[in-house]
Symmetry: C2
Subunit: 460 residues, 2 copies
């Protein structure tokens, strides 16, 4: 390495010039008291990198490198460290309780099962000689078959396993849908308020977004534009994000009729419908669609973990055809082992048991929150349809989200604004907050709510 | 469930009509000899789904569902099964040896280490309370730090950990780069021949592709368009795909000079540079770029497994800024556990040991192929720079790829066309084949080559 670096540096700084002939390796080895092999290795490397060229007969000479002078780079990159700092600052030191809806307590992850199934699935994959191959781009059949039978049972979907595509989650599904549709100029219709992390995917794919208002039954069908073609509605019918309303069956049929007569697609984001604490999950919109207008997307982020990074979509046949054509040369983006572990969890029934356990835990947490807030029920009202991982808190008094959030933070509790969900920020009610109940332990809830009540005493 | 389905069906088929009042739950329970709870559960579900509405006072009545008639869907989806069949047919029954370059033999995957580290990393993540949270969208710092020190050592890259983005592999990296750049109309310059699976990503992102010829030193810089802005060159300098040539240092500096003076980016795809059997890996183009023109992308597919689905990219600071802005609300697409396992492999030195072992095995396989073909060296020449997982086989005689491939298949060996790598198919030499040597065991190589020689006897 010393010989290699010395010669390279001399070439770069001009000490050795084009056409100079290098000392023979035997001679240099003798001079330096090293083995000839050592010198040969250094020369080979310089040859492979193009600093040397072979001399006619034998030996090596310096290559012609006119572009090289003064080009050698700075060794250190001075880019600021502020982004690291920023991400390390993220967990505010004084936050005792983070009422986020986008994760849950670590103890709810089925760690032991995941360990056991990882070991089992590695053996399965070894046996099938699948540890080092490219995968089915739609996802492994083993997973798609098990997922299909689960989704048929729980969400009423009707399709076959070929229509399923395993993805890295909701955003990846949306990204793929954008690429499937983007040959024509598409307008995306979004519920207002709606899921901002979906909106940003549409924007990054260059699509135009138009907002459509919702009422207590979900999206208002009469407010959807009629007749123009190339429209795609992104909707959360079973648990509207963030208001939490459930679209009743009548509205669902109305919506499907709109889609059919306008040749529009409905992107049904069914992100947390497994988590339902009082009634059974409501059958999906896809389950009652008979015109192939619904693209169904789901995720394992809510029931397993957001760090699993796996979701799925069900494509109607005509879109599947486009997918198979456009993505013919793509590879799946999801590790095979994770696909097998989840397939195995579903197949053995452990996934169902896990979801039941989760529902039990989340229901208790939700109810404890409702209970702790019950004595101020004239001052704040809670909207929640008994599912998912969050509820909305609306103050009767005039209030300002920023002030409410700041006050809560001063008392160690992080709560969230609803502003981010509105395309038209001015329409966002200033006195409504977004609170998640999945990342807080049951026993911490009384203290958490007590802190909130203290923080918000002037509005209560 | 029986009560629920019976009432739902009667509403759908019109037996029960809007405004009809349901029998009280107490009475129905008595009639059916079931508990009142059972009836209440069925009613609650119908209420939640919107088939019923609460009657003033008490009880339930059928909701107004004008859109519902005749809308109920077919239960089965008749989409053909041909795609399953197609994917199941993929492994041709008569193929004994598949000379693909895109996977390797299952035994080379570090299965035991992966098992052990999975268990250890699950405990680490549990301890850090990270089993059920959203991740750093750029990838976990633990991985980025370890990866950076590895890439500095092996590929000479200069950057800091904030410039690294962990991705699902090469195609995902390219997809992200397209989204970073797509605000302006970009032309992608590609080596001809080049990597078709990259081309398809650019096409799906709506970008225009222009081919640039290569010679025995890689891309010909003088053939690159000059002056027009918004150009991005996709290049494989350390191991040109598929010709296998290595770009020497002089050409590298020429290329960087072109990029600087044209404000162009170079996408350096460094897909398999760890796998190098004679010299050390050649420092990356990124390592000698002092103008932030290189976007460096790499993958774990070659050294670990393509089923791991993990890669990375290094963004120059100005693109990192765009990334942080555009992808602010995105979540990472890579499972946290896999990130930790790989970080741990690198940190403990096991990754280096694994790569050394792989290089030893692949070198032996390559040499065995060269040896087995040595007696026909006047009829076929092999191009390979002693790295990666493939070589090109060129016939001296006039030959036709299709015929060569068909003949080989008749003798149980799958070999590959080079046609797919050419944008301009007519320019593809008809007598050159693409052979991978990573998915065949050393002891099988003599039999495999014997079969090929028999299959190709008329050309040898």
């Amino acid at each position: 390495m010393q010989i290699y670096h010395q010669i390279k540096d001399e070439i770069i700084n001009g000490t050795r010039k084009e056409g100079d002939i290098l000392t023979g390796s035997r001679e240099l080895a003798r001079t330096l008291h090293v083995s000839r092999n050592t010198v040969d290795n250094a020369y080979s490397q310089l040859l492979a990198e193009g600093y040397l060229i072979p001399k006619k007969g034998s030996g090596h000479m310096i290559a012609s490198l006119p572009e090289l002078k003064g080009q050698y780079p700075h060794q250190a990159c001075e880019f600021t460290e502020k982004h690291t700092l920023k991400s390390e600052m993220k967990s505010h030191p004084s936050v005792l309780y983070d009422l986020t809806n986008s994760s849950h307590t670590s103890d709810l992850f089925p760690k032991s099962l995941w360990k056991r199934y990882t070991l089992e699935c590695l053996e399965m994959l070894d046996h099938e000689k699948k540890l080092a191959v490219y995968l089915d781009k739609q996802g492994e059949l083993y997973l798609r078959r098990n997922l299909l039978s689960y989704l048929k049972r729980i969400r009423g979907v009707h399709c076959n396993e070929n229509q399923i595509v395993i993805t890295c989650g909701i955003q990846h599904s949306l990204d793929l849908v954008c690429q499937l549709l983007c040959d024509e100029k598409i307008t995306i219709l979004m519920e207002e308020p709606g899921y901002h992390k979906a909106a940003v995917v549409f924007q990054n794919n260059g699509l135009e977004i138009q907002s459509v208002p919702i009422d207590e039954d979900g999206i208002i069908v009469s407010k959807l534009p009629s007749s123009p073609k190339n429209q795609v509605l992104y909707s959360t019918p079973s648990h509207q994000f963030p208001t939490g309303v459930t679209m009743p069956i009548g509205r669902r049929f109305e919506l499907l009729k709109w889609a059919k007569s306008n040749h529009a697609y409905i992107l049904e984001d069914d992100f947390d419908s497994e988590l339902r604490y009082y009634a059974k999950p409501i059958p999906s919109l896809q389950s009652i669609d008979m015109n192939d207008t619904v693209i169904y997307i789901g995720t394992f982020s809510k029931a397993l973990s957001p760090s699993i990074r796996m979701g799925y979509m069900i494509l109607p046949p005509q879109l599947l055809k486009i997918y198979l054509d456009k993505f013919q040369y793509y590879n799946s983006m999801i590790p095979i082992l994770n696909q097998y572990v989840i397939a195995h969890l579903i197949q053995t029934g452990e996934y169902d048991r896990h979801v039941r356990r989760l529902n039990h835990v989340f229901r208790k947490r939700l109810e404890r929150f409702l209970e702790e807030f019950s004595d101020v029920s004239e001052k704040v009202s809670i909207s929640c349809n008994g599912s998912g991982q969050y509820f909305l808190l609306e103050f009767s008094a005039m209030a300002n989200q920023d002030a409410l959030i700041r006050k809560a933070l001063e008392h160690g509790v992080r709560v969230y604004s609803t502003m981010q969900f509105w395309q038209e920020k001015a329409d966002c009610p200033p006195n409504t907050l977004f609170l998640g109940f999945s990342k807080i332990n049951l026993t911490d809830i009384p203290d958490c709510v007590k802190r909130l009540k203290t923080a918000w005493s002037e509005w209560l």
